[in-house]
Symmetry: C2
Subunit: 317 residues, 2 copies
């Protein structure tokens, strides 16, 4: 897997600028540079066992999503969309040595699965950011392509996250570090969100909006569902909660946006979240659309992100 | 997949007792009974599409673990250990219709993967508890078989959780429900923990102890690691934090114990957590043991749980 686009190893510190252009992916950890080796356990990749710069140095788009199958499909789709050589249909899992995450590469596009929930995506992002740092990748855009529950939207609507908020509707991500609660901003790149919205509007096959995304730690009680193994509230209380969120600008609910936004923001990485809604939570809790319909929904963020990437690479005007 | 052991459908409400013997798995959700259908989305199984009682009615042991490969290996191992008919090596994933979780069955033993982190295991447990409830399973013991980082223990030590504590060393699980923080007890079954310890001591091939388990929301900063993409503390501060946890009785750290204990406790399910430690966190952060060594470590909880199950089934004295 040789570099395709640029030789990022030639970018020296003096060439880096202070804005988000032409910059090697940075970690915010002073200890890392002095480590003789960095083994990325959950990827089964390491600085002493793999030539990460040769394998990943050309990556410009780090695309992540919950499901391994969906990320493989996305990598195959991007392989075709970018007109890359070879057979994209049998694209290999770069993390085949572990079943924790899956990773696929299509030219400058890396597609990585992250499982479900903030802790799961946070492990993956720690290792992905370190991976791209070790590989000296430059000007990388991070995009999460996900599924979500919508509030007051037709199923299949695509929501680009304006602000990621937690279960208490605050635009922050709380984390316990050494027994102390720290709070991080979940600010995302507004320009990038707008560019993605414009791509979606050009495709114009389905509704697409920018809205706030609520990130919860649980799919059932945590999202006000009445159909979990545990539930201690009424339908009226549920609807009141969802409507309160809606009034606060929340258009969809998922389980990874705040930590994704917070970690990218902390590392000065350009980031966006593009999720399709699988149901309207004001109409119910269960996801009952036919499998084929859900599969088509899940392709919507992929098509928008593909158009964005092709524009960035100068393959589309 | 026909029932093997008992016909639990014949257990009527009047036969149920108030203790944990001879009881159908209960949900704590008054809404569930009135739902015409329950589709377990993340398992791709449903009450209208599958005969859950025929498929799962004989399950007595719900064994869960993070990795899908590890749970398949465990199911194959149990197939052999229980002397079941047929070829255990090509055991099928019952959740093949989705890649969110994997599920394997070996007689009365169900082995289900749960991914990493509290939100991921909580989705799975909601659906697993509902599944066993719909299937009218009786007297089911829940066991999590996991990997963890040890504190002050030789790598490979098996820790059976006495008490599951959160990152602030509290024996509780906090969750936001409809915008309010609720707190649940993480109490586990002490008798079950002792029985598992006794099984481990009979095997006597590796150290095994009962100790407290700390559950964190993050693998890197959240566990005081110095090798993440983000780190803002010194080695001394990290060691101080780990030693403070150790003084509070914490022997190992993982990412699912509190919610597993809390959900099982809430549903009156007998539950235990058996984790092997892959490293001693006082010696470092990276998991660097050879692959074969780690694989052997991961078999240790499986052997202990297998002996326990065989004793319960009267296959061993």
């Amino acid at each position: 897997m040789a570099p395709i686009l640029t030789h990022n190893s030639e970018v020296t510190a003096s060439e880096r600028s202070d804005n988000k252009e032409n910059r090697i992916v940075q970690v915010k950890n002073p200890h890392l540079a002095s480590m003789p080796e960095d083994y990325l356990y959950h990827f089964d990749l390491g600085t002493q066992t793999h030539n990460l710069q040769a394998m990943f140095g050309d990556v410009k788009f780090a695309c992540v999503g919950g499901s391994a199958n969906r990320m493989r499909t996305f990598a195959q789709f991007m392989h075709m969309e970018l007109g890359l050589n070879g057979n994209g249909s049998n694209i290999l899992d770069i993390c085949a040595g572990t079943d924790r995450y899956s990773m696929y590469k299509a030219g400058p596009v890396l597609a990585v699965s992250h499982g479900m929930g903030a802790p799961s995506i946070s492990i993956m992002l720690h290792e992905l950011i370190k991976l791209l740092h070790h590989a000296k990748c430059c000007d990388v855009t991070f995009i999460r392509l996900g599924t979500s529950g919508g509030i007051g939207l037709d199923p299949g609507t695509v929501v680009i996250t304006g602000t990621a908020v937690d279960s208490l509707l605050q635009p922050q991500f709380e984390q316990v570090v050494l027994g102390k609660v720290i709070t991080r901003s979940t600010e995302l790149d507004r320009e990038l969100a707008q560019e993605l919205l414009n791509c979606g509007k050009e495709i114009a096959e389905y509704p697409i909006i920018i809205g706030n995304t609520m990130c919860t730690q649980d799919f059932y009680e945590g999202q006000g569902r009445l159909d979990g193994a545990l539930c201690s509230f009424s339908n009226d209380e549920k609807v009141e909660y969802l409507k309160k969120a809606y009034r606060a600008g929340v258009k969809n609910i998922e389980m990874e946006s705040t930590v994704f936004a917070a970690m990218c923001h902390s590392c000065d990485l350009k980031a966006a979240i593009v999720c399709v809604t699988l149901l309207n939570r004001l109409d119910g809790d269960q996801i009952t659309s036919p499998h084929e319909v859900l599969l088509e929904y899940q392709k919507r963020p992929q098509k928008i992100v593909s158009m964005f990437i092709k524009k960035q690479l100068g393959l589309l005007k």
